[in-house]
Symmetry: C2
Subunit: 179 residues, 2 copies
DNA sequence: CGCGGAATCTTGTCGGTGACAAGATTCCGC
DNA sequence: GCGGAATCTTGTCACCGACAAGATTCCGCG
């Protein structure tokens, strides 16, 4: 099976990228290192993604799709949706890290824009169901608080006192928005 | 004045870094490009900062000090403190970008830890004065919502409908936490 | 004043990286 | 089973970060 054609390179590279980025961040990502992990030549990745920005565009798109899945699975409850957002960030740290850093990829890519819109709609929908009001300001507040908590958690900026269960801590924090 | 000794290189490099990072993110930062902007040889920056991580450590430390200044100027009101946090992120985008990405610098640097603690104390203090309660959960919620809003704003992920005045929009969002 | 060490900066070099070009190999529709 | 297309390789170039060695300037101390 060690044929000239790898056959599955695109997926393997994306998954290797997830590993590498989770380990040391998108800045340290090297296409040549990915190629080495996949056992192909140093120029093979360029064929599938064009360049580094192309790979990260595909990676971010995959991330927005994964986020949409996670939000759908969380159901209709707004609190659960928020917890799911944080859970996604923790479980798919590498994707989350790239998705909100548009200077790393091509933010005008049509597939990426579509995937981002899908996940955004799920977020806004949850808020609208919960409050009944015009969702703009509420959705923005809800998005901000879960996004902020997730970001701070991932950056390691939170004091140890918060504990080691991000989803439980997130639930407590999100509740403050409804009191 | 074009002497062998530049005399002010350290500060010039930090300010050039702020420009370069604001333009295209910390990932694209190049020590050699900074040296070129400052008019010195390609190896001069290494003398002051050791390596790239050293420069970003100093840069992040400067950022935490600037944040502390901004929070102090905002006064005692919690809402104003939150708005000031967002204002800092927008006005010092480059610093904010680096401060919460510890994989880019040496997070165990003593000066950095001290500066971070100073700004953190100002945040927690504002919350304690406002609620009177045990500040942990409230502070975390307040920090999360302003940090999240600032991050989303900077990433360009927010829809145009939010407007072009980040501090005004932040004020609206933060108010949701107290209603 | 001036000497000598320390601080500051330069030059030169090395391995690693992203991008590109050209060529080799394999796949697949017809 | 032929031929174009897709996939991958090899080779190359400029740029970058890190390091080593040397040049220049500054400054404390006699």
């Amino acid at each position: 099976m060690a044929s000239y054609h790898h056959g599955d390179l695109r997926r393997v590279l994306l998954s290797a990228a997830a590993e590498a980025i989770a380990e040391s961040g998108p800045a340290a990502l090297s296409l040549r290192e990915l190629a080495r992990r996949a056992g192909v030549s140093h120029a093979a990745p360029a064929h599938h993604f064009g360049d580094k920005a192309g790979l990260l565009t595909a990676f971010a798109t995959q991330g927005f799709d994964l986020l949409a899945d996670a939000l759908r699975q969380a159901g209709d409850d707004l609190l659960d949706t928020g917890v799911a957002y944080v859970g996604f960030a923790v479980r798919h740290r590498a994707h989350f890290d790239v998705m909100f850093r548009p200077e790393l990829y091509r933010a005008d890519d049509p597939e990426l824009i579509a995937a981002r819109a899908r996940s955004g709609e799920l977020l806004r929908g949850g808020v609208a169901r919960h409050t009944g009001r015009e969702p703009d300001a509420d959705a923005l507040a809800a998005w901000s608080i879960v996004h902020g908590f997730a970001t701070l958690w991932l950056s390691g900026a939170l004091p140890p006192r918060v504990g080691d269960d991000p989803e439980a801590a997130a639930r407590t924090v999100i509740r403050r928005l409804f009191s």
